[in-house]
């Protein structure tokens, strides 16, 4: 696979290490004694960038994200967040779950404020912040609803508000749009581009959708399956300051999707 802006994993991590929020080095993950989920992963994630982890199922992209989140332990290797090694979940990282992971007994407001609640933020303050982010993700007016009264897309917006409300440096998103229908997903993706401009956070997004990765990312890390390795790093050269629908028609956008598909195809066949 040839590509203008493709870099090898090693050189990319060396060149960018000056402003990396997260550095992953020499990471291995073996399940049980035999299944190698991740092999020798070296990656840096730049502050303020949206990086996608893209690959077919079985490439260990969710495993990698959960190791960065501190939810899983690597077999060997290290993850540094702001220069400090990861020993578990921490306040500088917030997670957005594929299946939303909302508390069904709590209102939208309380769900969105959960991260602040467990930190012991006073009630008035945490509800103010939660309300702000509920508005930010477009759910104003739904504060007192319960998750079962919302659609899938709206539930994920609550999950996003919850992650934003704790003011973490990095948002880790595990296939956040995969349980949401197509129209909602598109709208959500457009909103995420806008939200990034406002929030200036670092995003790491796990996805199996090539379109989604190209549409949203500053940087795409392609992982190959069994064992999961970094196959390629791509930096899409797409201007996102135009009308969201225009992006989907840009030749650069469409060509890159084609290129990536050609590269991934043989893993599927």
């Amino acid at each position: 696979m040839t590509m203008a802006k493709s870099l090898s994993a090693a050189s990319a991590s060396r060149a960018d290490s000056r402003d990396a929020v997260i550095q992953v080095s020499g990471l291995h993950k073996v399940y049980g004694n035999s299944v190698t989920a991740l092999e020798n992963i070296d990656l840096s994630f730049m502050r303020g960038q949206l990086t996608s982890l893209l690959g077919p199922s079985g490439c260990g992209k969710t495993t990698l994200l959960k190791i960065i989140a501190g939810l899983l332990e690597p077999t060997s290797g290290e993850v540094l967040v702001n220069g400090k090694p990861v020993r578990g979940p921490g306040p500088e990282r917030a997670f957005v779950f594929q299946d939303f992971a909302l508390m069904p007994w709590a209102t939208v407001l309380r769900n969105a404020a959960f991260g602040l609640e467990v930190r012991g933020t006073p009630k008035a303050e945490r509800e103010d912040r939660a309300r702000h982010y509920i508005k930010e993700v477009g759910l104003a007016g739904f504060e007192d609803k319960y998750p079962h009264e919302l659609s899938g897309g709206m539930r994920q917006r609550v999950g996003l508000a919850r992650a934003l409300a704790v003011n973490a440096d990095v948002l880790l998103m595990d296939e956040p749009f995969s349980a949401v229908d197509e129209q909602t997903r598109r709208k959500f993706q457009e909103d995420l581009i806008r939200l990034r401009e406002v929030e200036k956070k670092t995003f790491i997004l796990v996805t199996h959708s090539i379109e989604e990765a190209v549409y949203l990312s500053d940087r795409i890390v392609l992982l190959s399956p069994r064992p999961g390795r970094v196959a390629e790093i791509i930096e899409p050269d797409i201007d996102r300051n135009v009308d969201p629908d225009m992006i989907r028609r840009e030749p650069a956008y469409l060509d890159l999707i084609d290129d990536i598909w050609r590269g991934l195809r043989h893993y599927v066949e």
Partner: protein
């Protein structure tokens, strides 16, 4: 059920049985069955006797005490089994054995240990109610989605906060277990008192049956039935309020 276009409430079936009972009683076929109307009038008799008041008090106390201990212990045991694999392997078989064992046979043993009084009855209620509560709690805890646990972990919830979330997420199953425990507990209190036979409604049952006061005997049974069913209905009401959980958890 509808009958010729009229909606008939399901309670109507009870009326049919009452009529059949009345007819059998009128014919004086079986000495054990006085007419239903006679049972109803005995109901007033039974409720107004001072011995009923004291029996009700002591029964209520031992029932509620036994049930409370069973709920606390059963939920804790179920959480332990649901969360700690080795504990589950060790305990699951025993809990299942106790669930299906003829517990009445154990009451005499409890009696030897705890004497012929209220503690024995409390222990019997506990033994009858606790196992189903533990098993349902275990099932509920095991059904909590892993992502909810990961969520609370990743946002930095403490151990106590995480346990609270698991408990709340398992609430529909726990309440189903409590409802069954409530009904089994009524069995426990009656069987316990019958076997101890000198306290509570057990003493009354003995009094009525030894003096062939069958109408009074049946009246007392009706009261116990109504008691058990209304308690179960109250828990059922509570259950339906958290029912939406189950669907929106997945």
């Amino acid at each position: 059920m509808t009958f010729y276009g009229y909606r008939i409430p399901s309670m109507a079936a009870l009326l049919v049985w009452a009529v059949i009972w009345e007819i059998i009683g009128r014919f004086e076929l079986v000495m054990l069955f006085p007419p239903f109307t006679e049972v109803l009038s005995a109901l007033g008799d039974v409720v107004t006797t001072p011995s009923f008041a004291s029996a009700a008090r002591i029964t209520m106390f031992s029932y509620l005490a036994g049930l409370a201990i069973a709920i606390v212990f059963g939920v804790a045991l179920g959480m332990l089994m649901g969360l700690v694999k080795p504990a589950d392997r060790l305990l699951n078989m025993w809990v299942n054995i106790f669930l299906s064992a003829p517990l009445s046979a154990l009451v005499p043993v409890i009696m030897i240990l705890l004497g012929m009084g209220t503690p024995t009855v409390v222990a019997t209620v506990f033994m009858f109610a606790v196992w189903i509560i533990a098993l349902d709690t275990r099932a509920g805890v095991q059904q909590v989605t892993p992502s909810l646990m990961e969520m609370s972990h990743s946002f930095g919830a403490s151990r106590y906060q995480r346990l609270r979330i698991i408990l709340l997420a398992a609430l529909p199953e726990i309440l189903a277990g409590v409802r069954l425990g409530v009904i089994r507990g009524v069995k426990g209190v009656v069987i316990g008192q019958l076997l101890v036979s000198i306290i509570g409604v057990g003493a009354l049952f003995n009094l009525y049956s030894q003096n062939f006061l069958m109408a009074h005997f049946w009246a007392l049974i009706l009261i116990l039935f109504a008691f058990a069913l209304s308690l179960a209905a109250i828990v059922g009401r509570l259950e339906s309020r958290v029912e939406y959980y189950a669907g929106s958890r997945g």
